[in-house]
Each structure stands twice: as structure tokens, then as C-alpha cells.
């Protein structure tokens, strides 16, 4: 379980997070939603130790992340940020191999090789495993980076807008992979996502943020309600229910 305890963060004078507390359940997909500037990415950044909080603590597996060694924490928790531009001659396989760094510090063992092959196969990258990263399309590149995270084999995976700049087909592809990761491998996935319908369709829990605070946190079906979404985004939502799934229409505002 990821436990967030009264987290605060200021950038200059601006309070980006105000005493945020949250417990993110294991083995589920949790989406962080909210308007721009609500503090979602900052929260994710602090959980993943990319940013340091001014106050508060992150507890993972009953231990403060500050008490972990970098290398050990990297075996439990990984993060993938949105923009990944690399213009070096790096093949997909090289990139995925980096995922094993926390375990072998760059000297790959037979077990590492196995995990790398597995991750490449899991994301359907076998055919382009020897291609260079900078020659791939956006969807392929995103899959390659996800494969690195899969090879890292952490219990907790944090994703900052994993669907950014992807078309619908590739977005669905990525979300399905995340769902499989969660169901087959028991990973805990936390992601920042802007498309409320993707959040509704694929996540188990939703944390809604506004003005640096988590104002609603519950199972997805309890969050996808017109009055709650209105509370979060200040616009009107029409909820359409089909076969137990809820789709939001917010285009008539």
C-alpha cells in the first residue's frame, strides 16, 4: 500500500499541495484526475521521489521512502514521465535492459536477460527489438518505455499521462496492457490521466484533485457521478451507462 501522509509542497509562494493524505490500495489501478494545476503531477512526482515534499511523508510497504536506499526503492517503485525524447543510438532492447539496472547495476545476468525478453514480448516489441528508439512512432516509443518499466518489475508503477500524444488505438492498447499488468502480475498502478472516460473505463479507483487537495477518493463507480464530477471540474457531465460501464459526455458545456 502507498500511504501518503499530510503532504505539502510549495513552489515559491504558491501552495501546490495542501496537507494531502491518501491510501492507495494494492493490486489496483488508481487514476488521479483533476484540472490543470490541481497538483496531480506534483503528487506523483513526490511519491516517486523526483520531487521532495516540504512536509509530510510517503510510506511504501510500511517504510518511509526516505529510509530506502535508492537502489532498493527502485526495485519496488518505478515512474514513467510523459516526455521522453532521446536522440541517441539506443535500441529498444538497450532501453529495456536499463530496467534491470536496480538489480544488476548494468552487468546483466541470465535472469536479467530472461526478464528483458519477457518484457519485450509482453509489449509486443519482439519484431522491433533491435530498432533504434529515435526511429519509432510515438505509440511504439511509449510501449518501449513501458517495457523498461515492466522489466524493472516493481510492485508499484507510477505513470504521468501515459496516453499523452497517442491516438485512440494506441491509447486503448496501452490501457489494456496496464490492465493486464495489474491483473496478471498483481502490480499497483497509479496514473495521472486527463481523459475522464479512460479513467472511468479502466481504473478501479479514482482520486479527484482540486486546488492542491484530494477532494474525492473512492471506487470508480462512486466517483463517476454528475454532482461529484461537477464539483471537481466545474463543468456539467452527462453520464451514460452501458453494460455496467460509465461514459461521460461533457462536450455540451
Amino acid at each position: 500500500m502507498i500511504q501518503i501522509e499530510s503532504l505539502s509542497k510549495n513552489f515559491a509562494e504558491k501552495k501546490v499541495l495542501k496537507e494531502v493524505s491518501l491510501s492507495i490500495p494494492n493490486g489496483k489501478i488508481t487514476s488521479l484526475v483533476g484540472s490543470n494545476g490541481a497538483g496531480k503531477s506534483t503528487l506523483l512526482g513526490i511519491i516517486s521521489r523526483i520531487l521532495e515534499p516540504d512536509q509530510g511523508a510517503i510510506i511504501i510497504s510500511e517504510k518511509n521512502i526516505k529510509e530506502y536506499k535508492n537502489r532498493i526503492l527502485a526495485q519496488h517503485l518505478s515512474i514513467l514521465k510523459q516526455s521522453n525524447h532521446i536522440n541517441l543510438k539506443l535500441t529498444v532492447r538497450d532501453l529495456v535492459s536499463f530496467g534491470r539496472f536496480p538489480y544488476s547495476q548494468g552487468r546483466l545476468t541470465a535472469e536479467d536477460e530472461l526478464k528483458i525478453d519477457e518484457a519485450i514480448a509482453f509489449l509486443n516489441l519482439t519484431e522491433i527489438a533491435e530498432d533504434y528508439i529515435d526511429e519509432l512512432s510515438g505509440g511504439q516509443r511509449q510501449r518501449a518505455f513501458l517495457a523498461m518499466v515492466v522489466a524493472q518489475d516493481t510492485d508499484y508503477i507510477l505513470l504521468d499521462e501515459p496516453l499523452n500524444n497517442l491516438d485512440m488505438k494506441h491509447s486503448v492498447q496501452i490501457m489494456k496492457i496496464l490492465k493486464e499488468l495489474c491483473q496478471q502480475k498483481g502490480k499497483t498502478i497509479v496514473m495521472v490521466i486527463h481523459d475522464i472516460n479512460f479513467a472511468s473505463y479502466y481504473s478501479d479507483y479514482i482520486a479527484a484533485m482540486k486546488g492542491g487537495q484530494v477532494i474525492h477518493f473512492d471506487k470508480t463507480e462512486n466517483i463517476i457521478e454528475p454532482h461529484i464530477l461537477h464539483d471537481v471540474f466545474d463543468i456539467h457531465f452527462e453520464i451514460i451507462e452501458r453494460g455496467g460501464r460509465r461514459i461521460c459526455n461533457y462536450y455540451d458545456n
Binding site: S48, E52, N70, I79, I86, P102
Partner: protein, 315 residues
């Protein structure tokens, strides 16, 4: 050709040129010339390795291929110090400040400058490398302008004295200083050697590197300091060679299409040695010492820099 073969070929070429320098046209009474030449070659190898190492690492840290550590203003600090010394002591310069004092003073000032920059601009949370570079660039320009101003008002004879130290030259290396420089350089290489694999992670960017368990801040800080020391040492020993870094790193990337620093750095050292040997060869046997190696390298490096810019524009 495999990477290993390329490395072997480069090493052989280097050894060949080295032997040529050492043995070509050796006078009958050879001991004196042999000793002189050995020092010169050793200094060339050392400077080549300093530049190669610092440039490759610098380009990795800043995620680009066109900047070299000289952009941070080290060389302008060096030129300013030399100018100020001559300005203060005039024709008594060489009696007032001997080579050794000058060497260590230059290193200290360059390092002091670098550490001040890091102290104020490179902190854990706001580790904005680009701001650091920008300020370095601006201060570098300031120092250069100050130097030009001082150079303008000193006596022309004294300016000639100064000019000697503003261009790199391997023809008058002080042996004692060479040993100091070598010791410092080896120390830096050993300190940095263990982290080559960490550097491989740095190319993935800050967030990915942290996610993979790298202490990004510590790694970058360590290498920035090592780079500063190396650049300071090589500049203090032979003088500034601005375009050399760009030339050799990009040649290395072209030759060795890899991201592994354990290969890139030694390969770049070899390429640099080769380039310096060739440059020196031209200086000695084409221009008969009527030119300095800086001029040759800046000419070739400058041309290559333009080619690079045009290439980047096309992409």
C-alpha cells in the same frame, strides 16, 4: 567493423604516429631530443584524454552534442588571470610569478569559479543545468571583454608576452608541472571510472534515472566537479583549445554508435590523441613551427562545427 576492431585500429594508428614523433629524424646525439620529445608526447596524450573525458561527460550531462565545458567560461577565466598578471607586473611578470605559481593559481581560480557557480545555481531541488550554463556563458563573455580591455591598455611588448599563453602549445611544457597535472588527472579518472554505468543512465534524463535508482544529483555534481578539475588542469598546462572537444566527441559518436560510456570515453581518448598528433604533425612539418596547434585545431574544429550546425538544421 566491430567496436573492438575499431578500437584496435585507432590504437595502432596512435602508436604509429607516436613512434613517428619520437623517432623521426632523431639526431645522433639522441638522448636530449628523445627526452624532450617524450615529455611533449606525454603532455599531448594527457591533454587529449582530459579534453575527451571532460567533453563526453559534459555532453552526456547536458544532453547535447554541440556544447563543451569551455562554454562554462573556464577558458575566459584563464585568459583573464593571465592578462591580469601581466597587467599588474608588466615586464617583471616572469620574475614575480613563476610557472609553478601561475599553474596552481590558474587551477585554483578556475575551480573557484566553477564551485561558486555550482554553489549558487546547482541545488538539489532546482538543479537547473541550463541556467548554470547560461550564467557561465554570460560570465565568460564578461571575463573575455575585461581581458580585451586590459589587453588594450597594456604595453604592446607585454601583450606579446601574454599572447604566448593565450594559445595552446606543446613546445614548452614544464616537466615539474607535467607530473602534478598527471597526478591530478589520474585521480579524476579513477574517481570517475566507477560511475561510467551511472552515466549511461543519465542519458535517459533525470526522471528516468531517478526511477532506476540513481542518485542523480550526486552523480551530476561529482562529474561536474571532475570536469572542472580536468579542464582547469589541461588549460593551465597548455592553454585554451576551444573547438577541440566538439571535434573529437562528434567524431567518436560517428565512429562508435553506442551509448556506453565504458566504450565512448576510451574511444574518445584515442580519437583525441590521434587528432592532436595529426595537428602537431602539421604544425611541425608543414608550417615548420610557424603556427600553433590551437590555430590548426580551431580552424578544423570550427569548420566541423559549422558542418554540424548545417546537419542539425537539415534534421
Amino acid at each position: 567493423m566491430s567496436i573492438k576492431n575499431k578500437l584496435i585500429l585507432l590504437s595502432l594508428l596512435c602508436l604509429g604516429l607516436l613512434a613517428f614523433f619520437l623517432l623521426f629524424d632523431l639526431p645522433t646525439n639522441w638522448t636530449y631530443a628523445f627526452e624532450k620529445r617524450s615529455i611533449k608526447i606525454a603532455a599531448m596524450i594527457m591533454v587529449a584524454c582530459c579534453v575527451a573525458y571532460s567533453s563526453v561527460v559534459f555532453q552526456t550531462l547536458t544532453a547535447n552534442r554541440i556544447l563543451t565545458p569551455s562554454i562554462m567560461g573556464f577558458e575566459s577565466v584563464y585568459v583573464l588571470i593571465q592578462t591580469v598578471i601581466v597587467f599588474l607586473y608588466g615586464d617583471k611578470t616572469f620574475t614575480a610569478v613563476n610557472d609553478k605559481e601561475n599553474f596552481f593559481l590558474s587551477i585554483l581560480m578556475m575551480l573557484g569559479f566553477a564551485l561558486l557557480l555550482f554553489r549558487f545555481l546547482f541545488r538539489k531541488e532546482k538543479s537547473n543545468l541550463y541556467l548554470l550554463l547560461l550564467i557561465g556563458l554570460v560570465l565568460g563573455t564578461l571575463f573575455r571583454t575585461l581581458s580585451s580591455f586590459l589587453q588594450l591598455i597594456i604595453d604592446p611588448n607585454e601583450f606579446l608576452m601574454l599572447q604566448g599563453s593565450m594559445f595552446a602549445s606543446f613546445n614548452s611544457i614544464n616537466l615539474e608541472l607535467f607530473w602534478y597535472a598527471l597526478a591530478i588527472m589520474l585521480l579524476c579518472f579513477v574517481l570517475g571510472f566507477r560511475g561510467f554505468r551511472n552515466l549511461d543512465l543519465v542519458i535517459l534524463g533525470r526522471e528516468n534515472a531517478i526511477s532506476l535508482g540513481l542518485d542523480y544529483f550526486k552523480t551530476v555534481r561529482l562529474y561536474l566537479i571532475l570536469i572542472s578539475v580536468l579542464v582547469a588542469v589541461s588549460t593551465a598546462l597548455v592553454g585554451p583549445i576551444t573547438f577541440f572537444g566538439i571535434l573529437v566527441t562528434n567524431l567518436t559518436y560517428e565512429l562508435f554508435k553506442t551509448y556506453k560510456h565504458a566504450i565512448l570515453i576510451p574511444a574518445c581518448c584515442l580519437v583525441s590523441c590521434l587528432a592532436l598528433f595529426c595537428g602537431q604533425l602539421v604544425v611541425e612539418h608543414v608550417f615548420n613551427f610557424n603556427s600553433t596547434i590551437s590555430v590548426i585545431i580551431n580552424f578544423v574544429g570550427g569548420l566541423y562545427f559549422m558542418v554540424l550546425l548545417l546537419k542539425v538544421k537539415k534534421v
